[in-house]
Symmetry: C2
Subunit: 203 residues, 2 copies
């Protein structure tokens, strides 16, 4: 029944759009219709942009960031602090830190965190490459900007041991934990409150 | 600062994805990252599907549906009832009715509803084409499947007058209003409850 769910071409497009995060079948249909209403202004340009981006963007061999150049523009930017390295789980976290303009050093993307449940071991992450970068000697501090989860904490512990063994004088730091800006205390979970209280500072 | 928000190519992709309904800047970034993680399996096929669909799908000159053929597969399907025509606001509503398998006749898409606020007048909708189809004489009943809103009701009134003037013996019907299937009474709005009570039927 070709007409039952819209023409086949449209159905195939809806099925692909539905694979994007945050998109369900329903929103994918709405997106497909919006695209079909403006083939020249949105649909073909999006097709072209997807192709262009897929063909031009690749992972940076140094830090694992994605960029149109390799090594990426952060790794090759001489104005960035060359002795401080921020380790993140993925590219999205790097983007978030860059948007916040809070880190002017370099990055290293792990490509995940250790997870016994998901079977992610050290060899699945870019840890060997990290240790090699540290061994080169220029890095003075590694900031572990990993998620505040059990797996993130496990990964931070593991990395701290590995990095201290490889470079005894290296400073290894972690992000502070506490109440987020604007956060109301009565909606915070117990773990956050405990961490915030433990790490209290003089007013 | 090229690195601040990710490489330009990625930023342009994010900006385009963010124009899709239901996508904000944040979900567009997540979608872009997911696409970038699988260029061959998702990103390039989506690019190709968008291009193919944009180039092959067009509006049906008869009913306004979109399909890879014109007239569309519904209009040219001889097994469908040729004397009953369902009028909808847009293609999404046609798809919803087809998915529900509740209408075996033909369709006519208005391309919107009358709206004084948005400045949509009769000449902006496919009303002339509808009257012409009715004037051809084969249609016995027109079902106005328009949204249960003020603008939808205004449009239904206007169409009823136009159609009755053009074809005095034509049956013009509207969808029933009432409590939706599975709907709890205590969360229904007053308008729905009033309509459901007014249209009550013998048990």
């Amino acid at each position: 029944m070709s007409g039952v769910r819209g023409p086949d071409q449209v159905e195939r497009l809806v099925a692909m759009l539905a694979r994007l995060p945050g998109m369900g079948r329903r929103s994918a249909r709405r997106a497909a219709l919006k695209l079909l209403q403006d083939p020249g202004g949105l649909m073909l340009p999006l097709s072209e942009q997807l192709r262009e981006t897929a063909e031009s963007v690749r992972p940076c061999r140094v830090c694992g960031n994605i960029d149109t150049q390799d090594p990426c523009r952060i790794c090759t930017d001489p104005s960035r602090e060359q002795d401080i390295l921020c380790v993140t789980e993925g590219v999205a976290d790097l983007w978030a830190l860059e948007r916040a303009h809070v880190h002017r050093g370099l990055y290293h993307i792990l490509g995940g965190v250790l997870s016994a449940l998901s079977g992610v071991g050290p060899e699945d992450l870019r840890i060997g490459a990290l240790v090699e970068r540290i061994a080169a000697g220029e890095i003075q501090e590694v900031i572990l900007a990993l998620p505040a989860t059990v797996d993130g904490a496990t990964t931070a512990h593991y990395l701290t041991d590995r990095l201290r063994a490889a470079a005894p004088h290296l400073a290894v730091t972690r992000l502070a934990q506490g109440v987020p800006m604007g956060g109301a205390l009565d909606v915070m979970d117990d773990g956050t409150l405990a961490a915030a209280l433990k790490a209290r500072r003089p007013a």
